[in-house]
């Protein structure tokens, strides 16, 4: 069944789920990423973004070239915390000072 075809392999999201999201009003890859998580996996959407853009285009009639792609966020490749942590904080100050969580 076409519906069950996995489009986002990292997050296990199917064609059917994406079509449903687009029909529900999510018309950019950014919005679909935030609700379904496709594009948030280890490959950061390198595998699935294009396919999702194609589904959006097919459902909305907007040309693929005009479908908005997700912003590519750093790091370029997943990087180990231990590797980044080596050498301590760059400014040598263990306290980052103020905090907040929202």
């Amino acid at each position: 069944m076409k519906e069950d075809v996995i489009i986002c392999r990292c997050e296990d999201i199917t064609y059917g789920e994406i079509v449903e999201a687009v029909r529900g009003g999510l018309t950019t890859t950014e919005e679909i990423k935030r609700i379904l998580r496709c594009g948030m996996g280890p490959c950061q959407g390198r595998t699935c973004s294009r396919l999702i853009a194609r589904i959006i285009s097919q459902e909305t009639g907007v040309p693929v070239a005009e479908v908005r792609f997700p912003v590519v966020r750093p790091p370029t490749r997943p990087v180990e915390i231990g590797v980044m942590a080596a050498g301590g904080p760059p400014d040598g100050n263990p306290s980052g000072g103020e905090y907040d969580e929202d």
């Binding site: 999510l26 950019t28 950014e30 919005e31 935030r34 609700i35 998580r37 948030m40 996996g41 280890p42 950061q44 966020r73 750093p74 790091p75 997943p78 990087v79 180990e80 915390i81 231990g82 590797v83 980044m84 942590a85 050498g87 301590g88 904080p89 760059p90 400014d91 263990p94 306290s95 980052g96 000072g97 103020e98 905090y99 907040d100 969580e101 929202d102």
Partner: protein, 381 residues
Amino acid sequence: MKTSADCVIIGGGVVGTAVAYYLAKRGMTDCVIVEADYLSSGATGRCGGGIRQQWSTEANTRLAIESVKLFAGLEEELGADIEFLQGGYLVLAYTEEDERQFEKNVALQRVLGLDVQILSPADINEKVVPELNVDGVRMATYCAQDASANPFLTTQAYADAARRLGVTIELFTPVTKILTEGGRIAGVETTRGRISAPIVVNAAGSHSVPIAATAGIDLPIKPYRREILVTEPLERFFHPMIISFSFGIYFRQVKHGAVIGGYGDPAEPPGFNQTSSLKFLRTMSWKLSRLMPRLNTVKVVRQWAGLYDITPDAQPILGELDELPGFFQANGFSGHGFMICPKVAVLLAQAITGEEPDMDIERLSARRFADGRITQDRSVV
């Protein structure tokens, strides 16, 4: 697009969508949300999703307690999964000053009915987070009913529920001007046309400032970049949000398994910059590796930044402006908008529909800056 409505709400974040929902629930269904981009594209969708009740002033603690009550019933009320989890908040004290302040906080919080425990470093490992490195930690406070939720799903759930009640949502529609007439609000002008309305709610986060400025109003809010990162998913190994004011960190494990967290850089200048920095990635990695050594071999998959809309007392600006009747503010949340949103949105909806708000919102009115009635909460920024 509609050309008139009973109420226009600027901003499709958690605050804007929640205000629309609670207004519609009270019968004011002719509302339009105008969002410059897509839902939760601003501060809401960039935040850590923590919901804390441990505050140092009575007013904030009460607001947070009431918000948790609303959050706890939200999945049923809105008919959607928002990943609400009462995993608790563990607040670490590293200094004597922290310790003294936390003891005061806990005394107040307990009077208000919050179940907060004071934990020794050994207790922390035994009772709450076995793997936390407690070197240098003097004590901690822990409230098991503190919580977290998914900000995207919460906003989407409010938006869908509001739509079902008749609210219209216009995405990709930036507001270009606030319209006034005879000293009153008259509506908004957007890139796609005008919408006239007797009530306009400004819930656009940091962008509320330039928007209000188009009507000559100067809101005392400054935008500050705050960075955050997320790791690959791991099997759950701790439940609470872990935070420290003095060490400067917050982090939690989300439902999907990833660890998400950040800290605020006190040297950050105000501005609309939302780029990510290597300095943040390195400092945050160092902090995480120190507190949770197991994370050393875990990979960061993504980092991003968002804007805190900070007021002089780090409290939101809520309610109608004296200088422009009909123009309501719901902004300046200073980094804790998501967690207090449900109750704040109810209070604002009550004020707009002429109901008596069931908590005092006068202390959050813009008047406080002119009158100099400002109290600082020690548990923020």
